[in-house]
């Protein structure tokens, strides 16, 4: 766990890439919100106050399929409920004033939280969190402004492969954590639970149920999980006592 090598630090190019990807999502989401009849002012306000692209998309999806505003709101709130778990996860990662807590919880996103919880020390966690959340937040607001002002200039986000970018970024930020048995168990179990539930549960609920994987995984002892360990069966066990006693 105490291993931040997956995110050894993010250079300007990395942050620009994250901001650009986030910006493209902002353009697409806000264009859809305008399409369902939302006023430009409300769309821009939503970008900052709701701060949940997935929540806005969930609302739009319900409205577009003929659902009521109430149903759309329930769906959006459920989809966004995982941000409560995200805020909980970073609450004790580094010392924060009340104002920093409020700012951090408002702009929390999975990539920033993943980097912060897998960082080796509180200072690194704090720096990575604000770098990633900041870059993606700026991109999100700028993109939303573009979407409101000129419509969807991106076109089909699928055709540029944007829908694969966020899972890839998440993988990049949690990769280091997967080298320990307990975290790997949490990740695999959480992922499988969520995917299996998607066809049956309302949107957003699979994320909450997946969080329960942590309870099971917390019973798994921490320890290195690597191909080398699997091949040799040796891992990082302590040396036999007889060898340790030698001068």
């Amino acid at each position: 766990m105490q291993d931040s090598e997956a995110v050894r630090g993010l250079g300007p190019a990395d942050l620009v890439a994250l901001a650009a990807a986030s910006m493209a999502v902002g353009v697409a989401v806000s264009a859809i919100m305008i399409d369902i009849g939302t006023s430009p002012a409300v769309v821009m306000l939503a970008t900052v106050t709701a701060f949940s692209g997935s929540g806005e998309l969930a609302f739009a999806a319900v409205i577009l399929s003929g659902g009521s505003v109430a149903a759309g709101l329930v769906s959006a709130l459920l989809v966004s409920s995982r941000f409560g778990l995200m805020a909980m996860s970073i609450a004790n990662r580094w010392p924060m004033t009340v104002w920093e807590r409020i700012a951090a919880m408002q702009i929390s996103g999975e990539p920033a939280v993943a980097a912060a919880v897998t960082a080796g020390d509180p200072r690194t966690a704090r720096r990575l969190y604000w770098q990633i959340a900041g870059a993606m937040g700026v991109g999100w607001v700028l993109g939303s402004a573009v979407g409101v002002a000129v419509g969807n200039v991106i076109g089909n986000t699928r055709s540029i492969g944007l829908d694969a970018v966020f899972p890839a970024v998440l993988l990049g930020t949690v990769a280091a954590a997967l080298r320990s048995r307990d975290t790997a168990a949490a990740a695999v179990l959480g992922g499988v639970i969520a995917v299996v539930l998607v066809p049956f549960a309302p949107a957003g609920v699979p994320f909450l149920v997946a969080a329960l994987a942590a309870i099971v995984a917390s019973r798994v002892p921490a320890g290195p999980l690597g191909l080398r360990d699997l091949v040799t069966g040796r891992g990082r066990r302590p040396a036999p006592p007889s060898q340790q006693e030698l001068p």
């Binding site: 959480g190 969080a211 995984a217």
Partner: protein
Amino acid sequence: MSLLALAILSAGNAITRAIGMFVLGRRAAVNPRWTKLMALVPIAVVAAVFAVQTFTSRDQIVFDARVAGVAAASIAVWRRAPMVLVVIVAAGVTAGVRALHLAG
């Protein structure tokens, strides 16, 4: 979305986030047995978001071009490529697979 609907959504989101940050997070701070659990919850949730974004579309389990893009990106992650390269590989391979009509 009306201004009222936005206000409800924003307030709901803020309450959810505040419960996480100020209630559940604080409780974890005073209970050491929760520490390990708190470290594992985000891993499980991030993995869930990853899996849902990679293997599902709306309410269906789907294996499409994203799987190829994410698989290629995972090689970049494994080879410890910088994030910018991970992003470019993921988008490039996914877009390429779709352009060639190999997968949806």
